[in-house]
Symmetry: C2
Subunit: 338 residues, 2 copies
Amino acid sequence: MKNTLYLLLLLTLGCQTKTETKPTFGIVIHGGAGTILKENMTAEKEAAYRQVLSEAIQVGYEILKEGGSSQDAVEKTIHVMENSPLFNAGKGAVLTADATIELDASFMDGATLDAGAISGVRTVKHPISAAIKVMEASPHVMLSGAGADSFAKEQDLEIVEPEYFFTERRINSLKRVQEANAQKKLSLSEIDKAFLQQQRYGTVGCVALDLSGNLAAGTSTGGMTNKKWNRIGDAPIIGAGTYANNATCAISATGWGEFFIRSVVAHDISALMEYKGMSIEAAAKEVIHNKVAKLGGDGGVVGIDRHGNPMMEMNTAGMYRAHMDAEGNLAVKIYREE
Amino acid sequence: MKNTLYLLLLLTLGCQTKTETKPTFGIVIHGGAGTILKENMTAEKEAAYRQVLSEAIQVGYEILKEGGSSQDAVEKTIHVMENSPLFNAGKGAVLTADATIELDASFMDGATLDAGAISGVRTVKHPISAAIKVMEASPHVMLSGAGADSFAKEQDLEIVEPEYFFTERRINSLKRVQEANAQKKLSLSEIDKAFLQQQRYGTVGCVALDLSGNLAAGTSTGGMTNKKWNRIGDAPIIGAGTYANNATCAISATGWGEFFIRSVVAHDISALMEYKGMSIEAAAKEVIHNKVAKLGGDGGVVGIDRHGNPMMEMNTAGMYRAHMDAEGNLAVKIYREE
């Protein structure tokens, strides 16, 4: 009897060790959440989104498969989405009330808990790379406005004319929004609230676990159409839009930024895992469907935990998203029920 | 026996109800943490700090005692410290590398989880009031730079010339720092790291519980001397420098902002209370002495929980701080061992 128990103990320990140490990797991305309904989509548009999501995640997947870092995978995957005018990040970002483009991004390294963020840059081709550079080459975590642009230039990041980011689609969106607001004669706060309820998609994000067991998370966005007063949303806020910690998970959020800041969404998911032992999925459901929803906010999050379990959760009609595991299985999704 | 048990149960329930509902209030403030050593202090300087801390907390105390809101107490208490050139907030704030002054502040309401923040304003006399106005009168949580200044002006907040904030003491500090850096020929990151280790005091903050059971937290700062690239520290970041939630506590932080952002300090203290049932003191000790310290950061936090228990915790040599309870007992402290 004693020997049998001992054997069982050994077997149990053996299994646990295997679960804990088996090297695996994975990657999850999003291209924004919001009122994305099948009836408003054309087959071409849907195919275009699925195509860019697939291309982007494949870039990160190949890096991770070759033993590259989660940081590198997150950065290079986000570059693909920043380059695509389909998403509200980098080229094709939305316009502010003054018809300028102000870009926000952040990155966090789960191994060191180091982080970098920029808000309101106007000339940096890849805002996610500027966020990473703030982490690596400055003593700061967050830079903003013209200062962040100067820093990126000093660091030899790719600088473009502000015009590079502009697309006809976004210029038209701003016109439509401003004309509608003028007709309705709404106050500043009413305008933004009414309008926000249809406009919250496009932010991009990526989380990854690499073969060394390191987690990383990054988020990049143009914020919201017609934004004013150098508004900062959740995307560049460590703890709100982005968080990574090797002890728990890596998270990137997209949605109504104000509610995501107030709910400290990304860190709260990690805290529920660390302090209550929740799974990444249970923690994300609690934060999105209970906490954020109770305040009246909506949006989505993607994440990956330290064992490689992916998570894609939203309380909107849809979220552009994709996931790839170590075996190369790819899932690309748009609508909530899919 | 059964009757005795029933009686005991009733008594227990009665006591619990009393503990939960007895209206009380309290207020805690800080004026920054850092290398504050008795040997570097004069009796006059020490008396001046204690005097302003006492005056400031008394303002909030009177509001709370009369049944006023924790929001009003936090705002008016911080005004006193923003007006005092002793602290690095409002008048007497530190200078940036370009010899400008850029002010950050944030506020959070524990009842609604609503929040407001501004970063990099140059003309708003009371940055804490601008943060509150963002919460109340805009659809946003965080505004920055010139946009935040414009918003404050539109909202009829008190606007001053940038010169209002300048003091000889801070102009001299910037000169000393820049001369020292030039002599040492340090790289940009080395400069800031070396220098940061002596410079992290002055941020002000206040947390309060009012007679209605509502918690509020606010923080206001000029950031760090010689800061560059429109750097944003933890003070205007909801979850890092400021957090309030009626379910747990209200927190305001001060210290090496970069580490406080990475540790999501204010929200993490709340999460440890909410998810692990820790006391406010145990949670703050865990975050400051374990989590922040492990990363190499230092600073302090003040807080108050929903029962009115105060907390003032630091891993620096000192923190300007004070606490007042509902009975009017006042404690003003500077050094860690006091």
